[in-house]
């Protein structure tokens, strides 16, 4: 029996049960990503996406499956972003971070647990995505993005998330993404505050945001960061990445949203 026949026979009202995916992978010696691609290509929606379908649809789910996104930074923002991209069903993710978990990360970083202190963040990202959605191919790179490796780290990506914690590194990423034709969704958090913006290829929105910054770090040095700030900002970043991958106009293109989660206030400004 061919793979598509097996999948069609196992489907119930267009949905492919999770157990049938596992059985298909075993029977046809495929990984979960390959089974998911075959199912979506045959018009069958894996059961895990049942609650995506009313908003994304089968064609959108296939587009997400075929997408590649780089998440640069796997800390406070990156952990929530990776979680969101995995559950959305983005098929290929590159998780980049040179650091290892420390106890001071536990207050806000989704991927940090008391059991993985000392572990590279990028490796924790790969393990988490495998547990959340095995159909995602996630590569973890324990590296710091810089001008010399940006081309390699962003290769083949349609979009990237700026989830870094250093202004200098953010500017390096933004310049590389703009030059390489990769859409970039910027996010930053400090204390109870946050901001996000979307920069399309050829644009310089992130450089404008930090044009007046004299120091390498911002007010997070004094305020620290409370967990809800990166959680909300990362949610906005995942939404923008989703829109970009589905070919929709991102709402934050050329604009910055500023969040005050103490006052629960939002403001939106034009960067160009």
């Amino acid at each position: 029996m061919a793979l598509t026949d097996f999948l069609a026979a196992a489907a119930e009202e267009g949905l492919l049960p999770f157990g049938a995916e596992l059985e298909a992978a075993r029977r046809f010696s495929l990984d979960a990503h390959e089974v998911e691609g075959a199912a979506l290509g045959a018009g069958l929606l894996p059961e895990r996406y049942a609650r995506n379908s009313g908003s994304i649809g089968l064609a959108g789910q296939l587009a997400l499956h075929e997408s590649r996104v780089a998440v640069i930074g796997c800390g406070g923002l990156g952990g929530f972003i990776l979680e969101g991209l995995g559950r959305l069903g983005v098929g290929n993710i590159v998780a980049v971070d040179p650091d290892r978990f420390e106890a001071s990360n536990l207050n806000r970083q989704l991927l940090a647990t008391v059991e993985n202190l000392g572990e590279p963040k990028a490796e924790a990202a790969v393990r988490r995505l495998r547990a959340v959605n095995p159909a995602v191919r996630c590569r973890g790179l324990v590296e710091r993005l810089d001008a010399s490796n940006a081309d390699r780290l962003l290769a083949g990506c349609q979009a990237a998330a700026d989830a870094l914690d250093s202004i200098a590194d953010r500017l390096t990423l933004a310049a590389a993404a703009s030059r390489l034709g990769v859409a970039l969704v910027h996010g930053a958090a400090a204390g109870r505050y946050g901001q996000a913006a979307t920069q399309l290829p050829g644009e310089d929105g992130v450089a404008r945001i930090y044009a007046g910054a004299e120091a390498k770090r911002g007010i997070e040095v004094e305020l620290g960061t409370l967990v809800f700030a990166p959680a909300v900002v990362a949610g906005l970043q995942v939404a923008e990445l989703c829109h970009l991958l589905l070919g929709e106009e991102p709402g934050l293109r050329g604009r910055m949203i500023a969040l005050d989660l103490g006052l629960i206030e939002t403001s939106v400004f034009k960067l160009h």
Partner: protein, 74 residues
């Protein structure tokens, strides 16, 4: 001329949320910040009437100036 200055995030601490200032005609953003007692080193992102601007931009009567500190955490 009068301009409105709105501070955001931690810039409000010990200062104000929003205030009006009387400035000479065509004063720059930098001059407005000096008049308001906001150090330029803390004013990382500037918007005039909702659009990105810098210290050298000239203001006009009724302009609304918004200023943010630098937020870089992840």
């Amino acid at each position: 001329m009068r301009v409105t200055l709105r501070l955001f995030a931690s810039l409000r601490t010990g200062r104000f949320d929003e205030a009006e200032f009387e400035l000479p005609p065509a004063a720059t953003v930098g001059a407005a910040l000096d008049a308001a007692g906001v150090p330029r080193s803390e004013a990382a992102i500037i918007f005039v009437n909702g659009r990105h601007a810098d210290f050298d931009a000239h203001l006009a009567e009724g302009d609304a100036l918004g200023v943010f500190p630098s937020i870089g955490g992840g």
